[in-house]
């Protein structure tokens, strides 16, 4: 139940975050032209005459990033999918701590309210980017304080959730369900939860210190002698803006794996199911993910090559970054090889899962030049970086999550989502996503900075690529239209969708071994597990799938 609550709330936040960026895309495509139709909604202080002010643009940008990552993807990928599927897939009656589970949802919800309410403050919402770099963020308007308190709530919620997921997986596995019989999704959620548990406290500490800087006048992140708008600040100084970056990225690099690992888990389940084959190299997949999780704590400063932290440190982090690419490649190769020789069912979940592979591939490969010092000097803070991480998160993670929603919808509701609408949604989203993000590489390679309010209109070096802004914007608005189809399909199928059987995809894992909706305690009798998760097309078995709990 709480999984569904998480899911719906986070989908709403995702859509809201998307709306913010659609507004920004107007300004980028048609700088200083009034926003059509709705321009007057934003008030004279944000968009006089419907023309977006730079200050408002910055608020939208900061809040887009924050909402997408912390209020959208993480709660959907971890909150919703782990909450709903982990107990079922490990054969548990519920999460280990049901009350804590409820608390973590409501704390998340409250964090969302705090974030959203900050738009109505004098000076508006936080406007220093989702990274809240000091000293800019320390001297920003009161919206930043709300951002910090909101983050505090979201971190608390994630920590509670992470403890709950780990305990559920370790303690509540059904009899016979050994670690190497766990579906890969469960492994992915386990590693993800450890990342949340160990990385988030660094941002918590950093947020406390930024709050102190803003409210108590300390100088943790404030250098000496800072002058803002011609006035010397009253801070005593002696602090370090780079310290903020270290603490932030110590969280935020593991955070990107929080965004991707559950997605990989979802994709693995769907690929095994729809190729009707065992995953090729399941153990390799698990070991690679463990290594990935471990290494993700040792690469954070590849976001900071341009801070002047020194060549020795840069070389160290460039090396670890190259090392961490290896397990990513292992994971994606494993999934590609699994496709080989399968009799693939091309249903909507599978289409999204298949699209994930090359999209994540593009995102990952474009990360390599960013991880190398010498090339990052040119690419840092350009649209190339935006292209890189959106490829992994948007057509990557979000596609995987769509796949998951289509795939487990019969489990959530007892009905199937409409296939035809699903396929239209897929094709449209696939084209539009690439239409938005591919040109970003070109724009970035031309050297256009990622934070320009006018999209580079005034910059000589941006002239050759400026016209792509319009292309990208149009694709983003068309993408929104295709999402309306998804929203319609979601609600239509909830009430009117075709009734589905108990195990509509002929799957092997435990979540399909219980009625829909699952009864009190999830299972009528505690299941016993006899084999691994992907026993498809077992020679000699009459059906092409052999459920984990079936005795032969």
């Amino acid at each position: 139940m709480i999984g569904i609550q998480y899911g719906l709330t986070s989908l709403i936040f995702l859509f809201f975050g998307f709306c913010l960026v659609m507004l920004m895309r107007w300004q980028l495509a048609y700088p200083e032209q009034p926003i059509p139709f709705i321009g007057s909604w934003f008030g004279e202080s944000n968009a006089p005459g419907g023309i977006m002010l730079p200050e408002f643009y910055n608020q939208l940008g900061a809040m887009h990033g924050t909402i997408m990552v912390f209020l959208g993807i993480v709660p959907l990928a971890v909150g919703a999918f782990a909450n709903y599927l982990v107990p079922l897939q490990v054969g548990a009656p519920d999460m280990a701590f049901p009350k804590l589970n409820m608390a973590s949802y409501w704390v998340y919800f409250l964090g969302g309210i705090v974030m959203l309410s900050s738009f109505f403050l004098p000076g508006g919402a936080a406007s220093s980017g989702w990274t809240s770099y000091a000293p800019l963020a320390v001297v920003a308007s009161v919206g930043q304080t709300y951002w910090l308190f909101g983050m505090f709530l979201l971190i608390t919620s994630s920590l509670l959730g992470a403890v709950n997921i780990i305990v559920t997986i370790i303690q509540l596995r059904a009899p016979g369900l050994t670690y190497f019989r766990l579906p890969f999704l469960v492994w992915a959620q386990l590693i993800t939860s450890f990342l949340l548990l160990l990385a988030f406290p660094a941002l918590e500490a950093a947020a406390v210190m930024q709050i102190m800087d803003r409210l108590a006048g300390t100088s943790f992140f404030m250098p000496s002698g800072l002058v803002v708008s011609g006035e010397v600040l009253k801070y005593t100084g002696g602090g370090s803006p780079v310290l903020w970056q270290h603490l932030f990225w110590f969280l935020a690099h593991p955070e990107v794996y929080v965004l991707i690992l559950p997605a990989m888990g979802v994709v693995t389940e769907i690929i095994a199911n729809n190729t009707r084959k065992p995953i090729w190299g399941y153990r390799g997949l698990v070991y690679a993910s463990l290594f990935l999780g471990f290494m993700s704590f040792a690469v954070w400063a590849h976001h900071m090559f341009m801070t002047g932290m020194g060549t020795t440190i840069s070389t160290f982090f460039q090396t670890t970054t190259m090392i961490i690419s290896v397990p990513s490649i292992v994971i994606i190769t494993t999934l590609f090889i699994t496709l080989w020789g399968g009799s693939i069912r091309f249903n909507t979940p599978m289409l999204f899962a298949l699209a994930f592979l090359p999209m994540f591939g593009i995102g990952g490969l474009t990360g390599l030049p960013l991880g190398l010092n010498a090339t990052d000097i040119a690419l840092h803070d350009t649209y190339y970086v935006i292209g890189h991480f959106h490829y992994v998160v948007a057509p990557g993670t979000i596609f995987a999550l769509f796949a998951g929603i289509y795939f487990w919808f019969p489990k959530f509701t007892g009905r199937k989502m409409n296939e035809k609408l699903g396929k239209i949604h897929f094709v449209g989203s696939f084209i539009c996503m690439n239409g938005i993000f591919f040109p970003m590489f070109l724009v970035g390679l031309a050297g256009v900075s990622r934070r320009l309010w006018d999209g580079g209109e005034q910059y000589a070096h941006a002239q050759g690529v400026f016209r792509y802004n319009e292309t990208m914007s149009i694709f983003s608005w068309v993408l929104a239209l295709f999402q309306l189809i998804f929203i319609f399909n979601l609600f239509y199928s909830m009430w009117k969708g075709k009734k589905s059987e108990e195990n509509p995809w002929q799957s092997t894992t435990l979540e399909w071994a219980t009625p829909t909706p699952p009864p009190h305690g999830n299972f009528e009798v505690t299941p016993t597990v006899y084999r691994g998760p992907y026993e498809y097309s077992v020679p000699g078995h009459p059906t092409d799938y052999l459920p984990q709990n079936q005795k032969v």
Partner: protein, 199 residues
């Protein structure tokens, strides 16, 4: 929301050797270690970047902090005694030791209050310099943890202790868990004291 159907709430799982709550608190404490770890790292980062780092005792009162150290360590001992009393099924001894633990925690806060106000009277604020910023932030966060622990302990002394009648095994576990947290808070102080006051 029925917890009674969830396995290993009270009894230990054979292959892991713990019950759910025990594993949960250890995980929570690892994340707390990371939280204070980040603050101690900040301390090092800022200190090595500063030319004249003050000696803690030039601003702070070592005797008061030493007294507080005694309070907290003693309270950790009484907390263990409270749990052991439950193991011996001696509820009145439990109440005595728990009360003592709470009083010692409160004594810590009273001393801290006098330390803070003494600073403010001398116009020493978090904004005065980086050292004091760190001092107030780190000890302040620790104080919040002490207060959190006190609230939990007070709950288990009064309303929460009804569980001793209905489910003594589970109540005993809860006190053990609360104890683990309390020892952690104690441990943080044992790091804070030398780092801030002596080095």
């Amino acid at each position: 929301m029925s917890t009674e159907i969830i396995p290993y709430t009270i009894e230990e799982r054979e292959d892991t050797g713990v019950n759910n709550a025990k594993l949960g608190i250890w995980l929570f404490l690892t994340s707390e270690v990371m939280l204070f770890g980040a603050l101690f790292s900040t301390y090092i980062f800022l200190r090595v970047g500063t030319i004249n780092w003050p000696v803690g005792s030039s601003f702070l009162s070592v005797p008061m902090a030493a007294l507080n150290t005694v309070f907290l360590i003693t309270s950790s001992i009484t907390m263990v005694m409270a749990w052991l009393s439950l193991v011996d099924k001696n509820f009145s001894a439990y109440r005595k030791y728990m009360l003592l633990t709470i009083l010692l925690g409160c004594a810590f806060l009273v001393v801290k209050y006098f330390e803070y106000t003494a600073k403010f009277e001398h116009n020493l604020y978090p904004s005065t310099n980086t050292f004091l910023g760190l001092y107030f932030t780190m000890t302040g966060l620790h104080v919040l943890h002490v207060i959190g622990g006190l609230i939990v302990n007070i709950y288990f002394l009064f309303p929460g202790s009804k569980m001793w009648e209905s489910n003594p095994e589970r109540f005993k576990n809860r006190i053990e868990i609360a104890g683990l947290y309390w020892h952690f808070v104690d441990l943080v102080w044992i790091f804070l004291f030398p780092v801030l006051y002596l080095l």
